[in-house]
Symmetry: C2
Subunit: 342 residues, 2 copies
């Protein structure tokens, strides 16, 4: 074996995560199941009336969660991050495979708590554990989960499906995931919901499953509202107007905005684990009824305003596809539209 | 969040990997698909005549491959380790999800080579890429793969199925994986095959698929011949006699044994990626024909000699279920029966 060249930079020249996917991974994934690696989940069509929806999310200590995080937080989050993908696809959780990368910093107690909390989460989400791998890592622990869900054949909620004229909706509130992660805000009473939104996220699974037949497109909001809606727009070949004043925040989020004004932290901090989706205006009543039936907060935040040619340049912050607008219609520029993985 | 207790020991008190699976993971996996976490792969039964066989293997830099390893070695090995599981279950590869944990030590060239080699492997093994996740890790890189394969409903080759009187077989040669990993043996001509067995393993996929209907049980030999056969025995509730003189080695392996005599390195070093299986004696002719048709080396190395009560104590090195015997019938004690993951 030859020694490989050493460099501290990770894939910067490949254009970050998305460039790497586009340039290196997508060409390997030219099959209908992979959806070009452009959706939240892959979907396999077995012949018996159901498609299998498969998604993978990995969390690394010190990167995706604080290295001091409690074990149950790690378990809750890796499940929620994956369930969020199934929820946004309208799928019913079936089973999963778990890869545990055990850090030397994780003692037996920690590992027990991690797996125990994972087990409770499996029960709560109706997910079976089907297999996996457990490995030792020299330093940084990680958890990687591949989840499988079922959806009626051909009915998976796609990213590509938004139509001009559709309303744009989001479930829950935006920014609480980021807010809940912050350690420097003391023990304010109104942060309790935000802390739970980070430590024990509850993606709207029941709501997502019932979106089939009502929504034209959907994805999970996990990197940041605007960045994720950009992805939906890109897949659908549309642009949308998002009304800043209509974006739903928690009391804590509103308080944070009033005190600090850093909109981009709430919009681009990531970890929302909500569903962003589009639906024709005539489905509004049905959506409101569904929201009530599933006790899910649902807010219309804009509309799909224009078709965008697929030959247009890729999204960047200077020409976003999901345009944030002030009440007077002026475009609001937001420097950080989403969390950058690397 | 409270700070977690710090300890350098990983799950020692849980009895290592197998104790951890038995004690913490298996209780979470009480569903038919998981097979109690006691097989190489989970199997889901969709209703259209095929079961989906799912397996996951993760490789960590500095643990499962040398941190200086070439990128293509990492790609070859993560695919082969997973394909080996499908091969041992008689499954036809379908698709996979890949989690890439990118180390700061891996520059763009390395990542490109890794993914490029992975793509070549996908083509070679007939496996589609269905999705995955790409994450940054602070130090140690890793690759985790979940593979899916198809097998006719109910026909997956199980670990539990060996019958008293069955012959015990192994494909290929034993010990070349370990031998190929060694760096201190110079550039001896006869090590070429062993080096390839480590850097570009070729699990006997076509042979495994045709074992359905001929073998009563099978598993992949990856931790070490005796440790893995112990697992097969435990699942099947049997004991077996393995004839040391019949275990197949390469020319390099025979040379190593002659020079050093460290039998346990070849038997317990792991990384063989062969299939161990049992079959009734009357299937011998059919197996020989299959071996010839698929150009696969197949060797009978022993027989299933006794039933073992499930209330017997778990396997340990002092009372193995797969007993290694000298030509005169005496038991040969082998200190290291397989690679211990932690």
């Amino acid at each position: 074996m030859t020694k490989k060249p050493i460099s501290p930079s990770v894939s910067k020249n490949l254009g970050g995560e998305f460039g790497l996917i586009r340039e290196l991974l997508a060409p390997l994934a030219q099959n209908p199941t992979a959806l070009g690696l452009r959706d939240d989940a892959a979907v396999l069509s077995p012949p018996a009336g159901f498609d299998l929806v498969i998604s993978t999310d990995a969390l690394v200590s010190g990167v995706h969660f604080p290295s001091q995080a409690e074990a149950r937080l790690v378990a809750n989050r890796v499940l929620a991050c994956n369930i969020s993908d199934l929820a946004a696809k309208g799928a019913t959780p079936a089973g999963c495979t778990l890869t545990l990368g055990l850090s030397p910093d994780w003692d037996d107690t920690y590992i027990r708590e991690l797996i125990s909390a994972f087990g409770r989460g499996l029960t709560a989400w109706g997910l079976e554990l089907w297999g996996g791998d457990t490995v030792r890592v020299p330093t940084t622990g990680f958890v990687s989960l591949t989840v499988h869900g079922f959806v009626a054949s051909g009915k998976m909620l796609p990213r590509a499906g938004a139509q001009v004229g559709d309303a744009v909706y989001v479930t829950g509130v935006i920014g609480d995931g980021w807010l809940g992660l912050q350690q420097n805000m003391g023990e304010q009473e109104n942060l309790a919901d935000a802390r739970k939104a980070y430590s024990d996220p509850q993606p709207p699974l029941a709501f997502g499953q019932k979106l089939i037949g009502l929504a034209t497109s959907a994805l999970d909001i996990s990197d940041g509202l605007l960045a994720d809606l950009d992805h939906l727009c890109e897949s659908s070949g549309v642009g949308m107007d998002i009304h800043a004043a209509d974006i739903p925040y928690s009391t804590a989020g509103q308080g944070y905005l009033s005190a600090n004004g850093a909109l981009e932290n709430l919009l681009g901090g990531g970890d929302d684990l909500q569903i962003g989706f589009t639906a024709p205006p005539e489905n509004g009543d049905a959506l409101r009824a569904l929201a009530q039936a599933t006790q899910t907060q649902v807010t219309q935040i804009g509309q799909v305003s224009r078709a965008v040619s697929s030959t247009d340049k890729p999204t960047d912050s200077s020409s976003p596809l999901a345009v944030l607008r002030a009440p007077n219609g002026a475009e609001i520029a937001v420097a950080t539209r989403g969390y950058r993985h690397f």
